[in-house]
């Protein structure tokens, strides 16, 4: 009984030491740049695939609905939209380079699309932080 407890404690200590090695912010950074990649890096294939599909899907649906990408700050509230869009990482950069997204919101559907893109960015930040928590051992 006591031996088993010692073994468990040693295993846990080993895992904690292992989690402290290397650059602990790498999954956070990679997960932010490419949705789901933080989990792939930690070999959480299933979770990464679902997260990637959801975030990329939401971003793509937003663009398909002629949603607008925030490019600059014209009004103070645009800062929030830009912050949300930047959460998409390389998706946002790629969409900007390819000239995707509408210049102006003209119909209700496009307004929904703009919110889809912002929320996809915010969800990606949550997913990247989750990858960081997995890396540090705060979550299993």
């Amino acid at each position: 009984m006591a031996t088993a407890q010692n073994n468990n404690a040693a295993t846990r200590q080993g895992k904690e030491q292992e989690s402290r090695q290397g650059f602990v912010y790498l999954p956070l950074l990679v997960g932010w740049l490419v949705p789901g990649a933080g989990h792939f890096l930690l070999r959480k294939w299933g979770r990464g695939a679902f997260l990637s599909a959801s975030i990329v899907g939401m971003f793509a649906v937003g663009l398909a609905m002629q949603g607008m990408l925030f490019t600059g700050v014209h009004q103070i509230l645009d800062v929030l939209g830009l912050a949300g869009d930047l959460g998409n990482g390389l998706l946002y950069v790629a969409a900007q380079l390819l000239g995707l997204g509408a210049d102006q919101v003209r119909v209700t559907t496009a307004d929904y699309g703009t919110r889809f893109i912002v929320v996809a960015g915010l969800l990606n930040v949550i997913a990247a932080v989750d990858a960081h928590n997995l890396r540090t051992g705060r979550k299993s």
């Binding site: 979770r47 959801s54 975030i55 649906v61 609905m65 997913a127």
Partner: protein
């Protein structure tokens, strides 16, 4: 241009958000699934309930 109905937009939004919430907020696959379904029902249910409230206010 993709033009979903308001309800379809709500369902899509709820689906994507619930998957991310379920995976990130719980630890075991079973609890992830339960929490994801719980979030989805709350998203769609609250949208439908608020829609009815606004319908009666507008009359």
């Amino acid at each position: 241009m993709f033009k979903p109905s308001h309800f379809a937009a709500v369902v899509l939004f709820a689906l994507f958000a619930s998957v991310v919430f379920g995976i990130t907020m719980r630890e075991t696959p079973r609890r992830m699934l339960h929490y994801g379904i719980y979030c989805f029902v709350l998203f769609v249910g609250s949208a439908v309930a608020l829609s009815w409230v606004m319908f009666f206010i507008a009359r």
